[in-house]
Symmetry: C2
C-alpha cells in the first residue's frame, strides 16, 4: 500500500503588527478549508505563523516582547484551528513563539509543532540555528533579533511517527545548513516541514539581495536530493510592516525537483501527492548512507575547535 | 591586494580505451596553451584524466587493471605536461589512478594532485567517497567497479596553501555529499577543485537519468553557497566507449552562481577570474560558522550507529 501524504503548503501573506491572533487563525482556517476540498492529509503553515515577525524590532520592555509569545499550546486563540482540523480530519504544522517555564526559569523558543488528524500535538521542535544578532544595531533598515529574543533549541533534530511515515521539522534559517537535513535523514525522516520568514534585504551583504529566492530553493532542493527526503518549505511572504519577505513556498520531491510552488506573495495553498516510499529511490541507491558515507573521516564536522 | 586566481576548467572529451597517455597529454597541453593565452593561473582537469574510465569494465587479471594505474607522479608520460606548465608558469590539477607501496602492500587509490606554478606537486588527495560496487554485476549496461579497484582514501579532507589562498580537492562522487564541502571549508578551503566522470545512465535508478545534469549542478552550487567557497567542477564528457558521460563543467562562485560553463561534450576550456576574497561575503555573514553552527547538536553526523 502506497504511503501517500497529500500535502498542502499553506503560505501566509503579511501579518500586520496590529493584526490579532484571531484574525490570523481565521485566515489559516480558510486555507485549511481549501486544503480539505483538495483532499489534503497535512497542511503546513510558516514559522511564527500567529503574529507579525516581531524580531525585526528592538524592544526593551520584556512585556512588549512576551506579548508575541504563547504560554500554552493549544490556547484559546488557536482553538478554532485545532477544532476545524479535527473536524476535517486533517493534520497540520505551524510555528509560534513559545514561552515556557523550565527548571524554575522562563524560556523563550522559536517553536513549531505537528498536530495529527486526531488533533493531538505529536511533535515539537525548537529552532536550533538562530540567525541574526543580540544587540540593537540601528544602522540596519530593520533588526533581526532572534538571538536576543529566543534561546536556541537544545534537543536534537528528530522525526515523529505520524501520517504512516517519519516526519521531521526545521525552521527558517535551519534550512540553509546541510547539517539540518542530514541529521533529520539519519534519524529516519522521510519529510521535513520547514516554515520561514525571509526578508529580501540582508543588511550584512545587500549585494546578494537579488539571490534570496535562488538561495532559498537551492538549499532546500539540495537538502531534499542529498537525503532522499520530501521537503515542504512554507513562507510568510509579502510586504509586512514595510519589510519585503520572499515567497515561493514549495514542495520538493526526494529527487530535488520542485513539484509545487506558490505564485503569489499572499495567502495561498499549493498541493502535491507526496509518496513517502519514493525516498528509497534515492536512499537505497546513490545516497545509501551505510554503503557510502565515511563518518570516521568527518572529524571536523563536530569539532568545537575548528 | 585582491587575491584573484584566473582559473580554467579544462573539460576533456571522451578517451578511447585504445588511446595512449601520450595522446591524452597532448590534448591536455593544447588546453593549457589556450589557458595561457587567456591569462590563467590555474588549469583544472578531470578525474582519471590520463585514460578511459576503466571501472566500467570487470577485469579479472590484476595486470589488466594495473595497466591503468600510475606508479609514480610525475612519470614519463606526463612529463611534457609538467614541463609545459612550468614553462608557462601555470599551476594545474588532474586526477589519475595511483598505485603505490605502503606498509609492504600494494595500494590502489583514485587520486588527484595540485601542481604549483613552479611544477611542484603541493597537494595530493585520495578519493574518500568511492561509489559503485565490488562484484561483477552483468545485468548492468556497464559496471562501476570503483569499490573493487580502489581503496578508499584514509586521510581527511585538507586544503593546500597555494595560489595565495587555501585550495582543496575532491573527486566525482565526493561532490554529491555535503560533508565534503563542509569538511573542506572548516579546514579553511576557499576553493574546491572537483573532477568527475559521470554517466548519464545510472543503472540502479534509471528513472532519474534525465536529472543527472541537474543533480551535478545542484550539489556543487549548494556546496559553494553553503560554504562560501569557489567550486570548479570539471568533467570528462561525451560518448566514451559507448557510455554517455555528462559535461557542463563549470566554475561556481561562493554565492552558488554558475559563472562559467562548458557548452560542448568535448575538449573545452572555460575561464573565470576567481577572487578568493569574495568567500568572506558569505563566510563572515550568513554562514559564519563560529556564530551559527551547532556542532554539539550534530551527534548523528559522525555516529557509526545510525
Amino acid at each position: 500500500m502506497a504511503r501517500i501524504v497529500v500535502t498542502g503548503a499553506a503560505q501566509l501573506g503579511p501579518i500586520a503588527r496590529s493584526e490579532s491572533r484571531e484574525s490570523v487563525v481565521a485566515r489559516m482556517i480558510a486555507l485549511m478549508e481549501k486544503a480539505a476540498a483538495r483532499g489534503c492529509d497535512l497542511v503546513v503553515y510558516p514559522e511564527l505563523a500567529l503574529t507579525t515577525f516581531f524580531p525585526r524590532w528592538f524592544m526593551e520592555e520584556q512585556a512588549d516582547i512576551d506579548f508575541f509569545f504563547e504560554r500554552s499550546m493549544p490556547n484559546e486563540a488557536v482553538a478554532p484551528l485545532f477544532a476545524k482540523a479535527k473536524a476535517l480530519s486533517i493534520g497540520f504544522s505551524f510555528g509560534y513563539a513559545e514561552l515556557t517555564e523550565e527548571d524554575g526559569r522562563t524560556r523563550h523558543y522559536n517553536t513549531s509543532v505537528i498536530v495529527d488528524k486526531a488533533g493531538e500535538i505529536v511533535h515539537r521542535y525548537r529552532k536550533i540555528h538562530l540567525p541574526g544578532h543580540k544587540e540593537n544595531e540601528p544602522w540596519r533598515a530593520f533588526q533581526h533579533l532572534e538571538k536576543r529574543y529566543f534561546e536556541p533549541g537544545m534537543e536534537p533534530f528528530s522525526a515523529a511517527d505520524v501520517f504512516d511515515g517519519k516526519i521531521g521539522q526545521a525552521i527558517c534559517n535551519d534550512r540553509r545548513w546541510p547539517e539540518t537535513y542530514r541529521e533529520l535523514a539519519l534519524r529516519g525522516a522521510e519529510m521535513a516541514l520547514i516554515g520561514y520568514n525571509t526578508p529580501v534585504h540582508y543588511p550584512l551583504a545587500p549585494e546578494h539581495d537579488h539571490l534570496q529566492c535562488f538561495h532559498n530553493h537551492l538549499c532546500m532542493q539540495a537538502g531534499a536530493y542529498q537525503n532522499g527526503m520530501w521537503v515542504v518549505g512554507v513562507a510568510k511572504a509579502g510586504k509586512e510592516e514595510n519589510c519585503d519577505l520572499i515567497g515561493q513556498s514549495c514542495i520538493i520531491a526526494p529527487t530535488g525537483e520542485i513539484v509545487a510552488m506558490a505564485s503569489t506573495l499572499g495567502d495561498e495553498l499549493v498541493v502535491h501527492d507526496c509518496d513517502l516510499d519514493r525516498c528509497t529511490e534515492i536512499r537505497a541507491n546513490i545516497f545509501n548512507f551505510r554503503l557510502h558515507r565515511r563518518p570516521e573521516i568527518y572529524t571536523a564536522l563536530t569539532s568545537a575547535e575548528i
